[in-house]
């Protein structure tokens, strides 16, 4: 019995197969203990990873973290400043109005100039989402782990028009071998190199 190829089983597990292909895999799984076991193994791995992730997240004090985020962004307003300005304006208007209107006019002019400057700068330098995300990445050569991947010897194919990968060595990269199912039961391999 021909088993489900690794890439097809992965895609089925992730819900990425087209409906007809998914149905075909399901039919096979219904009668193949070995492929069902492979799928169960994937499911267990997923459960383990989820459980671990939930456990670690439950340990974190996110309220305290948000406090630190606010510190980092200075979201909290400076206390008292608005009140102090309001008080100064009120007192000055009562005793010496020019003390308010002259600097106010000057401030308005300065604000207009600043606004013009800001608008100009932001127009030229608005960062796209990608730029923001990319900033965190140090641009230097990665150390690439040397890894070999051997594809196990395949069983002799049932059809003579099928291609297969007998052996693969990705050298300093990692990779995967896909099998693309074609019409008439044929298939063709795709050797995908991860340039990590």
């Amino acid at each position: 019995m021909e088993h489900v190829q690794e890439d097809a089983l992965n895609m089925h597990f992730d819900g990425e197969l087209a409906p007809t292909e998914a149905a075909s895999v399901e039919r096979h799984l219904a009668s193949c203990g070995e492929c069902s076991k492979r799928l169960t193994s994937m499911q267990r791995l997923r459960e383990m990873i989820l459980m671990s992730s939930e456990q670690v997240a439950s340990e974190v004090d996110f309220d305290a973290m948000f406090g630190r985020v606010e510190q980092g962004t200075k979201i909290a307003p400076v206390p008292g400043l608005i009140d102090r300005i309001g008080l100064w304006v009120t007192e000055s208007l009562q005793h010496n109005p020019m003390r308010v209107w002259a600097p106010a006019g000057g401030l308005a002019l300065a604000a207009a100039a600043a606004l013009a400057f800001v608008l100009r700068s932001s127009g030229a330098g608005t960062e796209g989402e990608d730029e923001v995300a990319r900033r965190g990445v140090i641009a230097e050569e990665r150390e690439i782990k040397r890894e070999k991947m051997m594809v196990a010897e395949n069983d002799p194919p049932s059809e003579s028009n099928a291609s297969e990968v007998v052996q693969v060595d990705f050298g300093s990269n990692t990779g995967t071998v896909f099998e693309i199912a074609l019409a008439d039961g044929a298939s063709t391999p795709v050797v995908w190199i991860n340039e990590d």
Partner: protein, 198 residues
């Protein structure tokens, strides 16, 4: 009343609405943490990454144009900061077995404490967690990122491709490779020989 959409919250946060930003934070902090932890494999580092990510998000709300979803943008920032963090850490201390093992043990020790939990079960669960962390730590970081995004966040191949900015084929190749390696490493645990039953 339906929860506010991310795009509305972003707009309000951009205008200085603290509560809106807090809502975004509450909505995604645990998931961002899970993803960061999956890559950096250390609780303190993961917390630093998430904190830095949300600071970055707040500072650059104006730059978020809505071309992708908010969480795609957030995860991309979290991923880049996590990888960045790992590279910096590698420079300081070689990423050796001792460091990884200590991290794994430290994290695995913080299991939920339950007065009713069978001690034997707690020990078995801890061993499982330790083995999982050790297996994850052995993966190349970009493979770790993909398997965490897929298993914890349930993202599609296409969503992951957008976040990590690589072709879908590379996502698939890394994910299948990561799963294969994890399954080989954890064979005794995944086939039912050592499982924690409720």
């Amino acid at each position: 009343m339906a929860p506010d959409a991310d795009v509305e919250l972003v707009a309000r946060a951009r205008a200085g609405d603290r509560a809106a930003f807090r809502t975004l934070f509450d909505r995604y902090n645990r998931r961002a943490y899970g993803v960061a932890f999956g890559v950096v494999k250390n609780q303190q580092d993961a917390a630093d990454v998430v904190q830095e990510a949300f600071i970055k998000v707040h500072r650059h709300l104006d730059g978020f144009q809505g071309n992708s979803s908010f969480y795609t943008w957030l995860y991309r920032i979290v991923m880049n900061l996590s990888i960045d963090h790992l590279r910096r850490k590698k420079k300081v201390t070689e990423f050796d077995e001792t460091v990884r093992k200590d991290d794994a043990l430290a994290d695995g020790a913080t299991l939920p404490q339950s007065a009713h939990e069978n001690p034997a079960k707690a020990i078995a669960r801890k061993e499982l967690t330790d083995q999982l962390h050790a297996a994850l730590a052995e993966l190349p970081e970009y493979h770790r990122a993909v398997i965490v995004l897929r298993e914890v966040e349930g993202l599609s191949y296409e969503e992951m491709a957008k976040i990590l900015k690589v072709p879908k084929g590379t996502i698939m190749s890394r994910l299948f490779h990561a799963r294969r390696k994890m399954q080989e490493r954890l064979v005794g645990y995944l086939d039912g020989d050592l499982k924690v039953t409720e």
